[in-house]
Every structure is written in structure tokens, then in C-alpha cells.
Amino acid sequence: MDIRSQIAMVFHLDKCIGCHTCSIACKNIWTDRKGAEYMWWNNVETKPGTGYPNKWEDQSVYKGGWIKSGDSVQLKGMDRKSTMANLFHNPHMPLMDDYYEPWTYDYANLFEAPAGDDQPTARPISLVTGEPMDIKTGPNWDDDLGGSPDYARQDVNMHDLTPAEREAMFQLERMTMFYLPRICNHCLNAACVAACPSGAIYKRGEDGIVLINQNKCRSWRMCVTACPYKKSYYNWNNGKSEKCLLCYPRLETGQAPACMHTCVGRIRYLGVLLYDADRIKEIASCDEKELVAKQMDIYLDPFDELVQQAARENGVADSTLESASKSPVWKFVKEWGIALPLHPEYRTMPNLFYVPPLLPAIADTSGGTYETTSASLWGGIESSRVPMQYMANLFTAGDTMKIREVLKKLMAVRIHRRGVTVGDLNEDECKQAFAETGLDADMADAIFRLTSLPKFNERFVIPDAHREEATELLENTADIKGNTGFGTINTPQRI
């Protein structure tokens, strides 16, 4: 056993209102720079939709993630030899037009235009060429199902839906949507790390955050291809790849990442999970049907004394173990089993989990009324407006049983709470819901509390980073004492 700690996250999709506050907070802090304008380390996609970059989930084009190869896995895009042979030109790289060309507006013209017959306008100006441009596409062009023939209908996750099911998703009375906020998943088996020829991308041992060393990145841009979630972005200005760094400077000082801190719907949770690094290879290369269940297995019980002992021996700090025992992620993912990884079939073992949304049921409009109630206990789930297969393609590698199980649990919590607060439900119904999902009243109340009424410190249980013990501080400080600062800092500069 090689127990390590990982900062993991849960996003509760039922609570996401699609306001993009997270994206703006992230952009203001990190990507408001030349060459980074198009980067959205955090973005919120409307589902069904094609996401960002356009159709990123279509790995037959983008070649991201891993594929099973015998007992092991190999990068879907290129193996080591072809990576090296393709350094001069990456055949599977998304280009600027797969994202969008960033722009601003010529606001000065509004004030400085000479008097004339027409109202002055602020023309869009490309942030790349600096010249007037025609905007073809932009961030969240498909927000709230806008432009659906081009976007929602092209959604890659509908691949094994029947034509009737697909059609039903786009009929006015039946259509629905939900939001999918995405950041870097800080994967256990990160494909970007594996693909970097320079070895510039690494996972931090203490907290599992995946970072790109900007001093080692040589612009080979293989990570952009390898990341199946397309969360590594290439900065065309300084020739470096950049990605979400989980706001590690904030985390190290005990603050929640900016996207999570600002979240209006309070959908985001962050905490520690303990995992056994020795099992990564075995689990990443298991059968597709087992991927979700096996990934859940790799996370270890922080209350188990044997686990605690092994973690301590492996150098996990006591304060981290304490955080792990309070981790909201542990509760959602393991204790309650209601959060699932996004696209586990990419085999990167992502550490961002989603509580799938309980969407409105298909209504019965016969008889002139709009009727959504259902006679059967799970009718609301079975007749959900988004086909179960679609949700399964997103969160369980196509396994509809698994996604149904999770949605039933969420529904059981609702049934239970309705029984408690309104009291108009048959008690047998509630008991049956519990019996079928394995929940009980205490658990359902706990899920309800952490979902609806969590305090800030319950949503974010941030382990102490112990930077005071970092290796560089253990070096002989006398060598540096009396000198000017702790080293020279060079302003990042292009050649």
C-alpha cells in the first residue's frame, strides 16, 4: 500500500444555476493575459451541448485519454515513439478555431467618433491580430441551448440513443437542460502528465494537484491532445501550456479556490480523499464496466485505523488525516455513493465528482392539463426528460443501472424530506424508497443537510499545506542568510 492524499471535489449539478460566476472569478485571477484570453480553466457547459472546445468529448477526433491495451493502458493519441516523431507537428491538436478567436470592442470610437448621421458603434477587435473581425463563435455560444441545431443536436453523448429518444430531447414540451461546470480533474492517472515529452507536468505528492512547470514546458503541446477533458490550454503568446492549478496559492493559505468560493449556487465541495497509489495501474486498465466501481475502491476509509496507520507511515500529515475524516467529498462519493466521475471511460481516474441532476419528468399533456405526477414510486426517474442512457454516457461509461441507483437515492431523500416537512406522503412509500436504495432516515437527513444547508466550513475542508515544512526550508538557511532574498526572480519573458 502506498497511501497518498488527494484534494478531490464534488459538484452538485442539481444546484448549479448556470450563472458562470465561477468562470469569471477564475478568469479575473488567472487567464486575463495576452495569449490566455481564450482559456477557460473553469467553464460551465449547457447539456445537451457540445461544450468547450467544440465537441471535446469526441475522442475519435481529439484522441484524448487512455485506451486499454492488454493488462495495461496506453495513450489514445500517440505512444512514446509517435509522440517523438510528431514533435514538429501534432496531428491531433485542437486549433484556435476549435475554441474561438478572442476579441474586445473598439470602445474609444463611441467617444471619439466625429459627428455624423449615424450612431457610432464599437466594432469587435480581435485580441490576436488587433484588427476588426467578424465574430463567428465565442465562449458559451450554446448557453441555454442557444443555436441548438449546431450545438445540442451535435452532442457526442447521444451516440447510442434511439432516434426517437434523440428527437424527444428536442421537442419543445419535453426538452430540458442542465449545466455541467468543469475544471481540471487533477486525475490520479493523468494523461497530460504522461504525454509531456519534457516531463514538465507533475502531480504534487502532498495534495495531488496537477501542475505544469512553466520553466520546463517547451511548447511540445502534447498535453493539449492527451487531456481528454481539454483542460490543458496552449498559450500562443509565450509558448507554454497552462491549466487549472486548483488555486493552490489560495489552498495553501486555507482559502477555497476562487471558482468554489464564489459559487452562487454553492454547488461545490472540496476535501481530502485518501487513496492507494499502488492500485492506479490495475484500476485504470480494468474492464470498462468495472471502471466506476473500481475507482471508488481506490479511495480508502479515513476512519479505518489500519489505513490511518499506513498513511502516517507514508508521510501523510496528521492534520491531513483529520481533514480526510471530515471531508464532504468522502461523504458524497463513498459514504452515500451519490457522486460520479465525468467520463470514467477515459481512464484517467478524475478526482472531480458530480452529483447527477434529477431532471423534470416528461409531462402528460392529455386532457388539457400539464400533469407530471406519476403513480409509480420511481416514475419521475424512469420518465426523466433526459434519457437514462444519456446520463450514463456522461457519468458511468454507459452503465444505466449505476446512474439509476444514484438518482433513486436522490429521489429517496426528496421523498423522505417531503414526508418530514409536508407530511402528505404515504409512510410505506418512504420505507419502500429507503429499502430499495439502502438509505435510512439519518443518512437522508445528512444528505439533505450537506446539500441544502451546508456552512462554508462544511463545504470546504482544506487540509493544512504545511508549507513551513517544505523541503526548501529544510535546506541550510545559513547559505541564504544575509543575501538579497531567497533567490533571483526573473520576469517571464519571451525570446
Binding site: 512514446r80 509522440t83 517523438m84 514533435l87 514538429f88 507537428h89 501534432n90 491538436m93 486549433l95 484556435m96 478567436e101 490576436v128 491580430t129 488587433g130 484588427e131 492517472n189 493523468a190 502528465v193 504522461a194 509531456c196 519534457s198 516531463g199 507536468i201 507533475y202 502531480k203 504534487r204 505528492g205 502532498e206 512553466q214 520553466n215 520546463k216 514546458c217 517547451r218 511548447s219 511540445w220 503541446r221 496552449y234 500562443w236 503568446n237 509565450n238 509558448g239 507554454k240 492506479i280 507514508n314 508521510g315 501523510v316 500529515a317 504545511h466 508549507r467 515544512e469 517544505a470 523541503t471 529544510l474 541550510n476 533571483t488 526573473n490 517571464p492 519573458q493 519571451r494 525570446i495
Partner: protein
């Protein structure tokens, strides 16, 4: 006099600048060391230009290196007319590949407005040097035939004398000016390495062939810290 400048002063300056400069830049400004790919802004023309140019220059560099290191073997190989022609034609093909690649890349840079913004002054210098090298190289290949034979006889002794620190211009000074230009632009290219994107071929990531896929870096080593003696062996703990 100009021979002394072009064939002795310039090469030594370039080599020293390259060695000292590369170590300095790598050591203190590693951030600057990148290939500055522009594929993100334009991919299709880069495919042709980039591949022709890179494979051409890689092959030509290796060819020149072999002729420098093993002159007798190259001369022996060229002893048979058929083999000589095969060698010359192969070299010419790579030369054409390099030349075409450079032309495509320059054309691409000039044509695409997005690329204007990603092109620095140093990039223009880089293109001028590459173009000069390609033009002089092709000129020599087409006008002074059987280069593989005379390179070993004329240039190898000169280059060797450079590296042995006793420059000998006897053979090379009789060469036409175009050959001398080709030699000196080659050294200009070498001298530009630390200041330009040329730096990227010093950091070719050979390690990728054998490094493990996953890279994990620890900020602190708590296993070591539990035994403080292991960290600073020379410091004796007061309470043990």
C-alpha cells in the same frame, strides 16, 4: 583578412557565445527555453513547412556531422560512381526539402495575420539565417558538384583544426566565397542559439523514451523529517 574574420574569429565567437549563453539562459532563464510553436494559430501550412524544414535540417546536420567525423569512410563510399550519385542525390533531396520548408514557413508567416502577432524580431532574424543557409547550401550543391567528396578533403581538416585550437585556413581559403558564406552563416546560427528559439534543439526531450508516465513531486519529505538526523547529518540533535 576577411577570411580570418569569417573563418576564425566568427566561429570561435559563435561557439563561445553558444556554450556560455546556453548554460546561462538554461540556468537562469529557463522560462525562455521553448520552441514557441505556432501550430495553435495555423496548422495546415505548418504541417508541410515544418516537416520539410525539420526533417531536412536534421538529415543535413547528421550528414555534415558524419562527413566531419568519418571523412575517410565518406570518401571510400563515394569511390564507386553509383554510390556517389546515390549519396549526392539523397543529400540534394534533403537540401530541397529544407529549402522548400523554409520558403513555406516564411510565406506562412507573411500571409497569416494571426502569425504576425506571434512573430518577434528574433524570429525574423532566425528566418533570415535559415534562408541564407538554405540558399547558399543549394547554390553550392548545384554549382560545385560532388560535395561529399571535397567536403572531406577540404572542410574536414579546417573544422578539425578549429576544434584543435590551431586554425588552419590552407585548404579552405581557396574555396569560392559562397562556401565561405555558408560556413559563416552556419556559425551565426550556432551563435544565435541562446538568444532565439533555436534553443529548443538543445532540449530535445530524449528522456521521454524511458521516463515513467506519471511524475510525482513532493514538497516536503515527511518520512525523512520524522528522523531529523537524516536531513542534516552534520548537525547533532540536542535531545538524542
Amino acid at each position: 583578412m576577411s577570411d580570418i574574420f569569417l573563418l576564425i574569429a566568427l566561429p570561435y565567437t559563435a561557439l563561445i557565445v553558444m556554450l556560455v549563453g546556453s548554460v546561462y539562459v538554461y540556468g537562469t532563464q529557463a522560462y525562455k527555453v521553448t520552441s514557441l510553436s505556432t501550430q495553435f494559430l495555423e496548422s495546415r501550412e505548418l504541417f508541410f513547412g515544418g516537416l520539410f524544414m525539420h526533417w531536412g535540417i536534421v538529415a543535413l546536420f547528421i550528414g555534415h556531422l558524419i562527413a566531419f567525423l568519418f571523412p575517410s569512410a565518406v570518401i571510400a563510399w563515394g569511390g564507386n560512381p553509383v554510390r556517389l550519385i546515390v549519396l549526392e542525390v539523397t543529400a540534394l533531396i534533403f537540401g530541397i526539402s529544407f529549402f522548400t520548408g523554409v520558403i513555406i514557413l516564411i510565406y506562412r508567416r507573411m500571409r497569416n495575420k494571426r502569425l504576425h502577432r506571434a512573430t518577434t524580431d528574433m524570429d525574423i532574424v532566425v528566418f533570415i539565417v535559415l534562408l541564407a543557409q538554405a540558399v547558399t547550401g543549394m547554390w553550392i550543391a548545384l554549382t560545385y558538384k560532388w560535395g561529399s567528396a571535397w567536403f572531406a578533403a577540404v572542410l574536414t581538416p579546417y573544422l578539425r583544426s578549429l576544434f584543435l585550437l590551431s586554425p588552419d585556413l590552407a585548404a579552405v581559403s581557396a574555396m569560392p566565397i559562397i562556401v565561405k558564406l555558408h560556413i559563416s552563416t552556419a556559425f551565426v546560427l550556432i551563435g544565435l542559439i541562446p538568444f532565439s528559439r533555436f534553443m529548443h534543439f538543445l532540449v530535445f526531450p530524449v528522456k521521454y523514451f524511458w521516463r515513467p508516465f506519471q511524475v510525482v513531486i513532493w514538497n516536503r519529505n515527511r518520512k525523512l523529517m520524522r528522523n531529523s538526523k537524516a536531513i542534516m547529518p552534520e548537525v547533532k540533535s540536542k535531545n538524542s
